[in-house]
């Protein structure tokens, strides 16, 4: 699975890492139980600080997408991904709110906005089907 870090982006590097790893899981490039590189090795390959990679892994671990073992290292959650809880619904609403606001200001209809988000969702799932 490819990972691409944009060094000039305003999005912090650890957020880019988190987003890409979740997308990798959603698209089926990373399957439950797959091993991920160690913090040290990933930091070395990307040429970025150890703490940045560690932060990304910790966030994903807290949310339940990864497991960090002392011996086996970092693996993609093998025992079922975290479900949809209130915290996630709130986070989703927050993210959508910003985008919906800008779409509304720019004059996008509700139908088009809904169609766009459905298309993005479908695209990800389709990639996942292909990978399986």
């Amino acid at each position: 699975m490819w990972m691409e870090i944009d060094l000039q982006s305003e999005v912090p590097i650890y957020t880019q890492l988190v987003d890409q790893l979740i997308e990798g899981i959603a698209a089926g490039h990373l399957k439950p139980g797959d091993p991920l590189p160690s913090v040290r090795s990933l930091a070395a390959d990307l040429g970025i600080n150890l703490h940045t990679v560690n932060k990304a892994y910790q966030i994903l671990k807290q949310d339940g997408f990864l497991q960090v073992h002392r011996k086996q290292g970092v693996v993609v959650q093998p025992g079922g991904m975290p479900g949809i809880d209130d915290a996630f619904r709130a986070k989703l609403a927050r993210g959508l709110r910003t985008l919906a606001a800008e779409a509304a200001v720019r004059g996008m209809t509700e139908a088009e906005f809904a169609e766009q988000s459905a298309a993005v969702y479908r695209q990800l799932r389709m990639k996942g089907e292909d990978a399986r």
């Binding site: 490819w2 990972m3 990307l46 040429g47 150890l50």
Partner: protein
Amino acid sequence: MNTIQTEWLVIGILDLVLSVSLIGAIFLAPKYLLFGLYVPEPDRNLPEVRRIRGRHQGAMVIAWVLGLVAGAAIGMWKGDGFSGGKPEIALWVALIVQIGGLIPIWRSGRLQALRLKRDRNWSAEKPSKIVIDLLFRQRQRLVGNGWFLLHLAIVAAGATSAALHWDVIPDPVPTHFGLNGEADAYSPKGFGAVFSLNIVQLGIIVLFLIINASIRAARQKLNPDRPEESRENQLRFRRVNSIFLYAISLFVVVLMGLGQSITLYGWPSKHLSPAMLGLPALLIIAVFGFVWYVSKQGLDETGGSSHVQEDEAWRGGGLFYYNKADPALMVEKRYGVGWTINFAHPLGIAIFAGILLVPIAIVILVTVFAS
């Protein structure tokens, strides 16, 4: 040809090979570096840059030729066509002239390059993105450590055979052979004299295991514009590198086994000594061939990550990589083939000491056992 003449010939060739490879390395140095400083693309053909490079390259060639001439002059001093004299001393004189000339020339080139860097504000370009393959390490197909059991088997066979044929081994044991193939130094028969080569073999196996592990750990560096192609190149390069080093280590272990048999069982050294001289030469040719193959196939892509291109990260005139901001232990070299150690990494010094200590440990062990 008498013994001394052969010695002159061998030493002459040795210095010539040294000179040609060093001068070759200077001339083949990439355009983006000037005496260990990074030159940005638009400045690479600047007349000043060309002048600094040309002038110092010329001076280096002159120093190396002068050294060779000095060495040859010592040989011809007596006018007996190289059949007398001391070839070793001539080699030392040649090397002192050559290396002694190289250092000030390099320093002067470095100073001028530094001045130009300041005037023109040179600095390495920062990349805007980094691309890696998350599963790169799983894709690596290097020679497994298990293959080194073959080396161990050879060592075990040599040592067992020596133990079983203890009575056949002469006392004293010949331990050094002149260039003409005749033994010229002996040691009293004992554990050290008989098994020292086995200890050296074991040390070499450890050394190559460390090197193989360091290839496995070296960071991936992919070209973000064409990641797939550069990933395939790197995977192939690592595999070829690992196989090549494995072959070399096997070759050296076998060579030493052969050496042990010659000293212990009186195998005809007269016929084998040309082989003992020829085989190391083959080794050098193999290394050159490997470097040529790698560069022809474009396997080792030049230009490293932005960390590696920073002049400040290179110390000791560009010899040692020391970069606290770079978390990698093994990093791609700035130019040339392969990888180098990041001395700012907590393990950097330890690994370097390990690589340095293995040969020293071998020498100490051998002397302890031999006495």
